[in-house]
Amino acid sequence: MQLAAYCEDVSRIFRPGSNEVRALDGVTFRLHRGEMAAVAGPSGSGKTTLLNMIGCLDRPDQGKVFLDGEDISHKSKHQLAQIRNEKIGFIFQSFHLIPVLTVFENVEFALQIQGKLSVDGRKDRVMPVLEALGIAQLASRKPSEISGGQQQRVAIARALVKKPVLILADEPTANLDSKTALSIIELMVKLHQEEGTTFLFSTHDPMVMDTAPRLVHLRDGKIVSDSGEQMNKNQPKETEAGDVSA
């Protein structure tokens, strides 16, 4: 199976003042296309740093990061932005919708940034996503006029609409009540199962951990357990950075 992301012995060291904090310490991690994984762990365990690394928002101090077969470890800021633009969808804890735009325009925004499609092309892409997520009827509403759960659905739609290689979600349910959080996770699982969307999200919500098909535990910057480890071990070494199926 083709790899969506691969971290090879990745370390990231922060130096606040005279201290040295190893946010990631020799992490090797593979995520296949069509896979859905949750990264769990206590605060400061390195969840967000791992997501930032795979999401091209950060670069490793040691090791290599591959995205869709491409080594992104030494890319420039501009190149990383271009990769994010084309290959990664983000879902944020605080949704980060633009309050002055409608639901439709917020989702369309991701395509506007890409600048590849015409007005009609964007409409043809956005509406089916809104319908699939059950928010088509909210298309003309502003974010302030819809609930938190609906806002997160809009954020998911924004991540999905550009058909990325991978969707990264940093604690996507942290700002939601348990019932809404469950519905969001179920929606993501459904998208994963039906559409084959690749998801990697961080969480410390036990309910979300239970739902995730694969769970990776981080502590002090190291992977302490990975329910998908066996599958990864079965991967031939030469395909780790590449694109050939097992």
Partner: protein, 414 residues
Amino acid sequence: MFLLKLATLNIFRNTKRSILTMTTVFVGVFGFIMASGMVNGVEQTYVRIEIDTETAHLRVMHKRYLSEEENFPLDLILPQQRAVHSVIKKGWPTALVVPRIIFSAQLGDGEQALGARGVAIDSALAEKAFSLSRYSSSKKPLPETGKWIFVGSIIAKSFKKKIGDTLTIESRTRDGSMNADDYQIAGVISTGNMIIDGGSFYIPLKSARDLLRMPTGLTDVVVKLPKKQDALLVSTRLQKQFGAVQAQTWQDKTRTIFELNKIRRQMFNVLISIILIVAAAGMANTVLMSAFERKGEIGMMMALGMPEGRIVRLFTAEAGMLGLIGSVFGALCGGSWAYYLQVYGWDISAMVEKTYGATGQTTGLSVASFIFFDISFSTILMGIFLGVFVSLLASLWPAWRTTRFDPREVLARS
């Protein structure tokens, strides 16, 4: 287009702050247009009243006359008057050459007396050159003969006289004796030139010759040319040809105004620059505050891979929109008010009276009682351009500053 739409929507996110910022741009552009209109208007007004009511395009006199003009000398007559006339007519056949005698007089009505400047003119030629009748309450020209007087409106008001009433003119004759005669008011003239309205009167040349016992000779002639730009050429030609003649052009007469206006223009430029700097600081502050308030949003845009240049463009577009709205309103209000003052004028007679006295005669220059602004479409466009340019310029640094945000940090903190 999308960026512009988003920028437009964003400026209404904090309406109060946007209005305050737009107001500073509004004030700058409004001030620029009003100041330009006024400064240009002062020049135009003074040139117009000088040409239309006093010296036409050129005034020709004895070479010593100007230095003694304050004493209204009747013995310094224009030499070679006929030759001067024919030289002008030869070069500019359609030019109007208006003969005058300028003299000092006292106007009285038996109860009060007032010093004034008398202008004896050839009525028919003066009518052609200056259209005096259009300034007269009677709307009729000054009769060519007889004891008729056109009197300035402020003088008429101080004597409480109207058309048909009589005023006595008392003056020293050319031989130095005193003479007086009664003249009937044929018109009260209001030209907007304080020297005329507040301190001058016109009488027919023929009757003036009797009053002043001056059967021949003129103190000066004023010349109206087909093109006012030719005044210098005529002046040079006359002074070259006639050694005893001096010519004063409309440019010579208004030079002081232009010099004063240069200083006034510089002062306005400094003032407008200060206002625009304040507007620029306000704009930079607004963009910076807006960027810091929307850190999370910027982080999201960066995470989605929006190029830095487009983020800068978004914020500069917001500043540009604020600047454009403020500038357009400033241009509309400033332009409308300046246009109103261009058509109806700004009455400064009270100010002039306070400075120069009711007659406005303490200066050799014509003094306008109304300033007519001079505003052009290009000045209005320039005002808008200036407002938008300053806004865009002021937003560049804060807009660039947003691209220094670290998306990891801003997303984590928000």
